[in-house]
Symmetry: C2
Subunit: 548 residues, 2 copies
Amino acid sequence: MEFSEHIKTANVEDVVLRQPLHPQRKGTLCITGHHLLFSGREEGSSQQVLLLLRNIDAIEKSVENLLGYSGLFSNAGHRERISGSSGTITIKCKDLRVLQLDIPGMEQCLNIAHSIETLSCLDCVSEMYPFFHRPSDLSLQDPWGLSSPERHYSEMKELHDRWRLSSVNRKYSVCPTYPPAVVVPKDITDDMLMKVAKFRQGGRFPVLCYHHRKNGMVIMRSGQPLTGANRKRCREDELLLQAVIDGSDKGYIIDTRSSQQAQQARMTGGGFESKSCYSHWKRLHRQMERGKALQESLIKLVEACGDESNNMDRWLSKLENSKWLSHVQTALSTAGLLAECVERDGHSVLVHGSEGTDSTLLISTLAQLIMDPSCRTMEGFLALLEREWIQAGHPFQQRCVRSAYSHARLLQESPVFLLLLDCVWQLWRQFPLALGFSEALLLRLATEAYSSDYGTFLGNSDQERCSLGVKEKTHCLFRALLRPKEREQYSNPLYEHTELAIWPSVHPQSLQLWRGFFLRWTPQARHLEEAQEEIRNMITEWGKLAVS
Amino acid sequence: MEFSEHIKTANVEDVVLRQPLHPQRKGTLCITGHHLLFSGREEGSSQQVLLLLRNIDAIEKSVENLLGYSGLFSNAGHRERISGSSGTITIKCKDLRVLQLDIPGMEQCLNIAHSIETLSCLDCVSEMYPFFHRPSDLSLQDPWGLSSPERHYSEMKELHDRWRLSSVNRKYSVCPTYPPAVVVPKDITDDMLMKVAKFRQGGRFPVLCYHHRKNGMVIMRSGQPLTGANRKRCREDELLLQAVIDGSDKGYIIDTRSSQQAQQARMTGGGFESKSCYSHWKRLHRQMERGKALQESLIKLVEACGDESNNMDRWLSKLENSKWLSHVQTALSTAGLLAECVERDGHSVLVHGSEGTDSTLLISTLAQLIMDPSCRTMEGFLALLEREWIQAGHPFQQRCVRSAYSHARLLQESPVFLLLLDCVWQLWRQFPLALGFSEALLLRLATEAYSSDYGTFLGNSDQERCSLGVKEKTHCLFRALLRPKEREQYSNPLYEHTELAIWPSVHPQSLQLWRGFFLRWTPQARHLEEAQEEIRNMITEWGKLAVS
């Protein structure tokens, strides 16, 4: 495919750009296969705005002809009548920015709008920008990623007498969404794993994701067991879980669905671990919202944040109505429960919901942040995301193809990863010294997950990224973020290592709207950023003085 | 009066103290005329809790006798039956802290409770603690207060050709709530002022409170004109306002009541400046809540903050229902309007509502903070409070005698000053570099206004403080806060002087609950304080290194 066939008008002069936090400017608009580039008339690179088309979630066209008629058009049939007029394109981005372009000439305006509409949602992953992005200070020969299942396993030496690294999935044939190597109980053979995989949704048999050094307990995750209406059993699955707890008295299963939902899942072939078959495991149900409900919650919240009615009651009632903060609360409190089981009560835990690719990852990640100081440095956090989201098969492509502004019918979109970042932000705010990274890193990740110069969030699984050649043909975001200059920008100057668990308060009164993200394009958020920068500057300055 | 007659039991051993953010402790409880003192068994001053009885807003007694019966008692008739039991006193403070004391022996418990109930709300101002507080590093011979109307006038030299200092009120006979000296237009004689005073509620004739150096405009404030149902006029009042604008085209009157409220006020003898009599003045009405409505809003908010139902929707709906944030929004936007009239449009403004002692002071103070950089240093801010609240006659005694927990019938209580501090906090959060003081100062002031070791907030007016001998017999809070050690604690390490006005965003989305105050006794607020302290420490450390 040639991008050029979608670009009828590549350049327009005398375009007026209006964007938040900046005065309006006049300049040249240019559309390429992947970018929208605006160059202001005045000199200086700050006059340029470069926007990935992939970042655009929705556009609106409005025209004003010379007779003063104005309206919204979605139909090209009006073109004759309105030539000679000018048009405005409103661009709503996945990072929640809203830009406006006043474009002289209706024809040009419609051409530009058409190009944006088409190019911003091309499906073909291998033609996306990460495959073309070639920054001068990165090489495609650089190693990709921060770690690997193999390395992660080799670092957990204490485990090696009871756990092994299995490459049963080396061809992605046992579980298409797992990486080629996974950690499982030593006594469970690859043949058994294959049988267990058939008994778990999406082939996601229970694998180890975290080992708590302090007491040797572990967190496992999986898909739901496919017991179905007939209460089917799988001997190997039962043996696998038995092998996890081994001598100890019992383990916990945290099911991220309500007990009723788990019951209902049996009607469609899913199910849960019954008490009779898994006698040493105690199930705890915690209903977490996912999928469409979560996406709708985000849409409502973003709509509320954009409400300009200036009415306090209305704002608070819309905020409540969006339920977003309830989802944050549920996620943090379920993660807290998981961490309590492991750290306080000293039990191993298996986590799953239905597919095991969304809320399962959300709470296993948060629990690790709560318990494990090594996940709280910048490298540690990025490696945790790599393990628990990228390698563990969160379907980023499906979940993040559209965001809160899109009018397209909802398919598989869901802001689970954004919800994770919001929860991490709550942790960061409640424990301002405990995390080695700053809010800016979370904001950067929230943007990159939806549209990126890097290959990290492409595809839905390791298998997909492998077949696309992502590791050979794109650069790795996480490695880029750890270059000295970026690292400095994203580090938390107040960071102080602590071995202690950081137990978040999940009282509704303690949780806040993540203004830095949801209101980031307002002047207010700007000032907070300025203050952060000021702190960083002061510390750098004084640091220099202290050294000299 | 002897305090001792209210103290039947002065000491109790083996009392258990439970307070937020601390583990529970056992020790000795001691009641004095002004304090409740708890000394923990372990050594160290951190084991002591010294609480001003005046800080106590409400107490609850609950008893548990040896038969396991438990209940709330308000009646001493039960004493016989329950001797030998133990009791719990829950103490709810005006600074929103809640403490619990488990006291062995019902008799002792009831005695203690009775002492607290009586001593915490004694009316006699001259027996309050500020008259007994004698810290070693302050002397009663030290000057009192930061400035005076005379000094303030002498500093505004540019005004001297058109304004004068009048001592018409030197005996507090013209306006009981004004200080002895006030600034008025030069052409208006003291005789005229006396006539104007009769035409304004509470004798509060229009006086100057702020001169905007950049363009020479001023802010005046007053009580409402007493036009009444018959549309009475006062020639001298009209001349006074005419003299304010002099040559310029017009002035504004910001009335902190709705137009309808102002109309209704005529029925009870009040009123507003009619267009026909004050042709060069344009009235703007902005309805601000005051009095009882504001107090009830605070009570609802504090109740919501203490809600332990752990339900996010319920919390947000209670927050909305309290209306507190709406009041913050209205105050900031009305202050913004006032500053706009003066700074942007270049007009002088008269502000009043009914009495001119509450919302009038609120918005004139906020507008000065917005426009005038000299009010944004720590000294400048405290001097502003001294001028606009202490000298200008905000009735602190009436407004702050009770706070959010009291079950007493509402009289004149109203958290106007607390609302001011909340609005200043919003400014501080939106402009983290612009104010020379920190959140900690606002928290300290919020506590001191309700119960204090110092005399600053005693009484309802300069006259009352004068007749009580406050300046001779108590110490001044503002001066105490400016001692080097305290000043360091309350300064903003990020402060950078700016000449610019700081225009707050008053979008509902931009305003936040002041968690540092309303949730200050929760662990979460504690962590934020720790972070602040960490920043301060780092800066001090590096500062030392840089100097050495």
